[in-house]
């Protein structure tokens, strides 16, 4: 008689509350992956998370941890304040592209330059989601947004910012990677990278960041599946997925 094995239940670090994100928005997947990684590390009770201003402002309702709401763009500075006080806790930020790549560029650069022992989950969906679809520093050339109704024009709005490549120019950071939500294969890969970004802090005392290419069905004007396909066809073409800076030992230790 074949036995049944439970291969999935929702992670303990997820509160179980209905998330407010739009149907098919991959914020929900990323939240779940972060919760799973924190569970895997047995770290729920010694973790402090910092939420952004953006769609994920309500992350404190969905992650079953001590959480702090930061001012827009300042999460890496808030996380730094927490980590410098509570050295043995796991401290992470969860930020969108408006939060991290627009108003928060100074804070993320300097936290990375200091190799601040925090983990940054950077959700890049090429648009300002919460405020209804304005152009972001990560909006692709030609992509339409509410403040770029003709599509982004390099001669007027410049080129999209590649955050991970920029941070890779710094001496400081321990782990830098870009992941994608485009399909199951990429979601599994993203979880591995998120885990390594947490290990950068927990095992190597340094800064770990994963930029996750994520969907915004609502403001891209695409149904959820089509939005994921656009990540694969358009976003991954401009923002290459990979590990730009790997952990010193090249692979995750421990569990």
């Amino acid at each position: 008689m074949a036995e049944a094995a439970v291969v999935f239940t929702p992670p303990e670090s997820y509160t179980g509350r209905l998330m407010h994100y739009c149907p098919g928005c991959t914020h929900g997947i990323i939240h779940r992956l972060v919760a799973e990684v924190i569970d895997d590390l047995g770290a729920r009770e010694r973790t402090v998370g910092v939420c952004p201003v953006g769609c994920a402002v309500y992350a404190y309702n969905y992650l079953n941890l001590d959480m702090i709401e930061a001012a827009h763009g300042r999460a890496p500075a808030v996380a730094t304040g927490v980590k410098r006080v509570l050295r043995d806790r796991v401290v992470f930020t969860y930020q969108g592209d408006g939060d991290l790549a627009s108003i928060g560029t100074a804070e993320i650069v300097h936290a990375a330059a200091r190799n601040e022992a925090i983990t940054v989950v950077f959700v890049n969906n090429a648009v300002f989601g919460m405020t209804q679809g304005q152009m972001a520093p990560t909006t692709l050339v030609g992509q339409r947004a509410s403040t770029a109704p003709c599509g982004r024009r390099p001669e007027h709005e410049g080129y999209p910012v590649k955050i991970v490549e920029m941070l890779n120019a710094l001496e400081g950071p321990t782990y830098l990677a870009r992941a994608s939500m485009a399909s199951p294969r990429w979601v599994r890969d993203a979880k591995k990278k998120l885990r390594k970004a947490f290990l950068a802090q927990v095992e190597h005392g340094g800064f770990g960041l994963v930029e996750v290419l994520s969907s915004c069905p609502t403001w891209w004007g695409k149904p959820p599946l089509e939005a994921l396909k656009w990540i694969e066809s358009d976003m991954m073409a401009y923002y290459p997925v990979g590990e730009l800076r790997d952990l010193p030992d090249g692979q995750a230790k421990g569990k």
Binding site: A2, E3, A4, A5, V6, V7, F8, T9, P10, Y14, G16, L18, M19, Y21, C22, P23, G24, C25, T26, H27, G28, I29, R32, S183, P184, V187, R188, P217, P223, P224, L225, L228
Partner: protein, 78 residues
Amino acid sequence: MSRILIADDLCRGCGLCVAFCPRHTLRLAARFNKDGLPPVEYVDPDLCVGCGTCALMCPHVAIVLVERTAKAKEGTAR
């Protein structure tokens, strides 16, 4: 028997699990949940192999259980 459990009221009817299920064993129901969205249901539960891809791709953690039963060897009773 491999199976999943779907939390009707968390499901947003986004269809990602339906699209990515390798056995095409899921579909959006013809009815609506309490938020007016069509939740996911099995086309045929026997097709489910408990791979967990649906739970992997669900942004709303509406797949609340995946149970995998190893396939019986050929020739033995299920």
